[in-house]
Assembly symmetry: C2
Homo-oligomer: 115 residues x 2
DNA sequence: TTGACATATTCCGATATCAGCATATACTCT
DNA sequence: AGAGTATATGCTGATATCGGAATATGTCAA
């Protein structure tokens, strides 16, 4: 059994760097496909396909404007990832604490104690 | 050009659900491979291989204890993902604002205007 | 309706990834 | 050293994914 599809698993969807670039490009505001093609310099089909994946996991929303399609970020889709990583927050916080503690220990040691 | 390797891209590495399960399993504390195999019920080789990927992107650290290998979470590795999603935080916040705004609009409308 | 433009979808070959099995490495204890 | 345990790695076949080119869908405008 391979990994769950990019079209159903948000984590897998953003596993592709180009899709993160796409989102990073949209972060400044809604844009239509042509604009994205210009900015990114990828073939139009590629942009559409990556957008399609992002759409299927609800990371972006589309709004038809005439013959254009304006894409925007649906932040709610990224929240699960943010929440998941948040559960590990204590690990990097603790890590910093440990570094700090060690630094203080070193400082205390150099002040007087030889052990 | 395919997506960047699971062994070099943290985002891609956690794109695999089993690897997230593995991390979720380790969140309670360091554990050796046998314990993980027991808890998860996967073939030992699979566990080792997924751990290997997590190791290559620095999401876990290993500590040999006799013939055991005790794995622990390296939270610092997840921080980049957390930071990246944080840049989109405003989107889900704004989204809630928008829902609220719309709800208020609907309420105001139903109060008098028939449209 | 016809033509032009904007975007999506389909088909293709190449590649990475997965699970499973078998085997290799590494350590411990006697 | 040799047996046994713990973990890692190599090989294989099936599958998903990617980019690219061609094509299909959809929309406007005259």
């Amino acid at each position: 059994m391979p990994r769950s599809a990019t079209t159903t698993d948000v984590f897998n969807a953003i596993g592709e760097p180009r899709r993160r670039m796409l989102l990073d490009c949209l972060i400044r505001g809604e844009q239509d496909v042509s604009t994205l093609v210009d900015k990114l310099g990828w073939p139009q089909a590629d942009v559409s396909k990556h957008l399609s994946v992002l759409r299927s996991v609800d990371l972006v929303v589309v709004r038809p404007v005439g013959r254009r399609r304006v894409y925007g970020i649906n932040g709610a889709g990224l929240k699960p990832i943010h929440d998941w990583t948040s559960t590990y927050e204590k690990f990097w916080t603790n890590h910093l604490d440990r570094i700090k503690a060690r630094a203080e220990a070193v400082a205390a040691k150099s002040k007087g104690k030889t052990k």
